[in-house]
């Protein structure tokens, strides 16, 4: 493991390597408590063509902790946000790193990162069934949370016609006097 980088060094580390492929970098700081000590967060939007290289580049710096992948249905695109943390293990040094990638809904495909971070398997399987994203090269393709007989073209987190609206029932209205 190399020396721990500060917030500015870390953003520079990515900017130097990928330049225009990084669509935007936002740095946010939030203070808390009486001493108003700050926690820093980097929100980074990247182009999906360099996605895997960004993760590799990140691992080259330090093996990150992947908390989870979250996702948004933005209409034409599907956004995946990878929530990483780096620099943990030292008091108040941790940096949150949220890497977001947008995929077109017509062809929502992204490479699996399980070969680099095996712990991503559960969350990748979840994204596959909940957002209808195709994860290329995922070691385990089965359903995770949804039952095996769940219809193939319904994705619970989508907001269009492939969403789960038709399954919704107002259970609390049943048997109401």
């Amino acid at each position: 493991m190399s020396e721990k980088k500060t917030l500015e060094e870390l953003t520079k580390y990515f900017k130097d390597e990928f330049k225009t492929k990084i669509i935007s970098i936002d740095i946010k700081k939030r203070a808390a408590g009486s001493k108003k000590l700050e926690t820093s967060t980097i929100w980074m939007k990247i182009d999906k063509t360099v996605f895997k290289d960004v993760i590799k580049h990140l691992i080259k710096y330090q093996y990150p902790h992947l908390a989870v992948i979250s996702g948004n249905d933005l209409g034409k695109n599907i956004e995946l946000i990878y929530h990483f943390t780096v620099n943990y293990g030292e008091r108040l040094k941790e940096i949150n790193l949220h890497i977001s990638v947008e995929l077109p809904k017509s062809k929502p495909e992204i490479e699996s990162i399980c070969d680099l971070i095996p712990g991503a398997l559960i969350t990748e399987r979840e994204k596959q069934e909940f957002l209808g994203v195709k994860i290329k090269g995922i070691p385990d393709n089965r359903k995770l949370f949804l039952p095996d007989d769940w219809p193939d073209d319904v994705y619970p987190w989508r907001r269009d016609e492939t969403g789960p609206e038709k399954y919704y029932k107002n259970l609390h209205e049943v048997n109401k006097k």
Binding site: A32, T39, T41, G89, L92, H98
Partner: protein, 410 residues
Amino acid sequence: MKSKTTTKTTYNIPVGPIHPALKEPVFLEFEIDGERIVDVDVKLGHVHRAIEWASRKRNPIQILYLAERICGICSYCHPAAFALGIEAAADIEVPERAEYLRVIQAEIERITSHVLWAGVAAHEIGFDTVLFLTWEMREKMMDLTEFLCGNRVTKGILTIGGIRRDITKDMLPQITKSLDYFKDNFEKIRHIFLDDKTIKLRSQGVGILTKDDALKLCAVGPTTRASAIKKDVRIDTSYFAYGDLDIDYITPDILTGEVNGDVYDRIIQRLLEIKQSIDIIEQCLDKMPNGDLVSEPKIPKLLNQLKKVEGEGVGRHEAPRGEVIHYVKLTGEDAPFTWKVRAPTYNNILPWIPMLKGEQIADIPIIAASTDPCMSCTNRIGIIKDGNRYELRKEELYRLSVEKTRRLMR
């Protein structure tokens, strides 16, 4: 020489979906060779309640109570992470006194949860007297929770931008009394867990999670710290009032001088954390400044303010079982556009696989329990062998576990 009989010497045992060692129903399929576990497969989703979907019809204040019901034992940390996420997205500043009160509640929850876990772990290896001892202690903490929050389990104490109830001067004696009781009795359970032969026999060298595996499989909380990875949201980042407090990472080598990453280390880890939590509460009571409890006491005004916000935020909180992370995206509507919840057990499932491989059937309960999926009760297991189907009930599995303890004691 090829033998004519089938070459497959292993057989499969399904465990779950409703299972002795797991709080949430999970289905595990074990490939067994004799008594040894060769491979494990995990299937989830038996109680997927679509909570994130339910949030689409609710405003942030309503979601607080929905979040509280994600888990009965962590009924504080989910609303806490959600509130942190909303506060980050809407840039709400929380009054200082509220930050300290939030820490106190979080630590009370940690003590309650860890003591509960200690009891359940003892039960899994057939040491039921310890179960009753620890749960008697836990009851004191539950009474304190009820005294401070108004209810025992669903605390309903957190709100966006602050906390709903204050700790006034006349409440302090009751809190110190409970903490003193805990400090007196802590020594007792420490002695039982760390010196008792029974517990050492069953937990040392069992269910090992190496540092490398813990890192690669993204384990969180006491599970990862017991494998010597220093990762604790309370210490890594500054949120609530944790930045002001004097705290440090806890790993099992503080006590034993070495880290093995086995079940015994995870027991030590949690016991040390109970002690740390008591210390944190005392620090908070000492340092707590005076001031407001909520940034915006008028709820309709707060809701209107949140309705105008466009942005996203992430809330992270160290729950008893590890890091809880909530992602919230607000787009200027009543309900948040996206709300993604990630509970600690989600990340602690994959580490089960290296822990369980190579262990015995009788060790399944204690290993599964050691990551603290509170083992609520149980279910049955079917053993399929030679085409005949045997039913192995929870009682049976538990009996196997108890028998192993007896065997080792001899």
